[in-house]
Symmetry: C2
Subunit: 146 residues, 2 copies
DNA sequence: GCTCTAATGCAACTTGTTTACGTAATTACT
DNA sequence: AGTAATTACGTAAACAAGTTGCATTAGAGC
């Protein structure tokens, strides 16, 4: 991971480069798990809660992060695969394969992760229902918790 | 729908029959959509918020209702299919087919509904991941909103 | 009807998230 | 580099969803 690249990501999305935004992206890149606003508050206490919330919103809008559906309490966020690839491969990907991946929540350790290699299967809907997005969340036990 | 049946449902689950619980079940039976705690507050203002929350929890525990995952703010609840069948067919179903159904949220009208005839397809996970539950939420436009 | 136990209502609280507004920092342009 | 325009930030306060404690009320079984 490389600071220049993080700045480039922000620049590519017409966002001003601030230390807060860089730190948030870096945190997502180094994290193997989805993060909540609370996680950001804990791990980046130098920034105000409001700033972190705003940063999350901005990143969702720009599709740097995606919101992960879940069935209670607080919102979780994951780094978009394209961005992760841009930062780790040190070049921007043009493909945005955009069939969504599965999310997994471990009921033991509580952690949520993206499974970028496991895509949501094709879904059939009743007549006249139009699909914009699909989200598939699996709950169970992760390898570490068995 | 039939009041006696509603009482029977409660009785079968070792729950005391109270007017609040009956009204909540009736509301779910007559609603074509998933309901949030806020919806209950609006439609059953004669009961205290706390009571409604507690009723929802109780019904989730007893699997009279199920929690519908979504990606923001507030929790939505749907009537379990078995219960709906018991109340409309006037007899208790023994089959609990328990492969979960898909949920649909319309981005136009904001309503969420259960699609009991559309089940979540089989999901493959990475090695050593164990599945307990799956939830699939589709966002798009419903027939009425096109 | 009486007793036991569970459900309710009220008040207050916690947590997650948002809004308003003044200040500070970044970017683009000399 | 210096300046203006604009965007982001921090603080405080508000708001909303959901929870907890406790006293009161109401079902269920006898």
């Amino acid at each position: 991971m490389d600071t220049l690249s993080v700045k480039e990501v922000l620049h590519h999305h017409q966002l001003r480069v601030t230390s807060g935004r860089c730190d948030v992206i870096r945190l997502f890149v180094t994290s193997n798990y989805a993060l909540s606003a609370r996680d950001l508050e804990n791990q980046l206490p130098q920034y105000d809660r409001v700033t972190l919330y705003r940063t999350l919103h901005t990143f969702i809008e720009k599709e740097i992060l995606h919101l992960i559906p879940h069935d209670g309490g607080l919102a979780y966020f994951g780094l978009s695969e394209g961005i992760r690839q841009s930062l780790t491969d040190k070049q921007f990907e043009t493909k945005t394969h955009h069939s969504e991946h599965i999310h997994f929540t471990c009921t033991a350790c509580g952690r949520t992760e993206c499974l970028p290699d496991h895509l949501v299967p094709e879904v059939t809907l009743p007549e006249n229902y139009q699909t914009n997005e699909v989200a598939l969340l699996v709950k169970g036990q992760c390898p570490q918790c068995q």
